[in-house]
Amino acid sequence: MKADLVVDAKGLACPMPIVRTKKAMDTLQSGQVLEIHVTDKGAKNDLSAWAKSAGHEMIDMIEEGDVLKFWARKA
């Protein structure tokens, strides 16, 4: 999937993946797609909950070994 911006939050613990994701999302325009890479297992639910409460659309999530990759479209 083509992303407008990629956030590398691998190796970071809560709440850093969310903080990095929020900051990156702030730089995008509505409709653009953010790709997020994390290794924090808690982020799996956290990022979905974050997207929901911030109103962004979580498009997809895949696991590649230890890395979780998310794609979210800005509201």
């Binding site: 970071l12 613990a13 809560c14 709440p15 969310i18 903080v19 929020k22 974050w50 911030a54």
Partner: protein, 131 residues
Amino acid sequence: MKKRVAIIAANGGLFDAYKVFNIATAAAATEAEVAIFFTFEGLNLIHKEAYKQLPLPEGKEQIQQGFAQANVPSIPELVGMAQEMGVKFIACQMTMDVMGLTKEHFVDGIDVGGAVTFLDFAKDADITLTF
């Protein structure tokens, strides 16, 4: 309208600090308006010197290594991040008077206020937490 999160920080250990600042930064990252009222031992969490070396619970000192291994940010880093994201810090005036502390003892950018200052913010809060 933005969600509003009101937090009372009344304890001054390292665990308390993580509970307070992780929730606060996560809430701010989720577009919430966040204020923390620091009272009694909670003032340690924003004290310029104390917040660099907050105590672990007795008998749990070995957990210090766990924090480093899990790549958890330091408390000063979390405090800076929280402020950068607009989290409002209110230090309790009464506690400061009792403990002989002034605004200069604390990190920059804090407000000093009484219980009513916090209550005025908290009365419209969607979530209120005490640590």
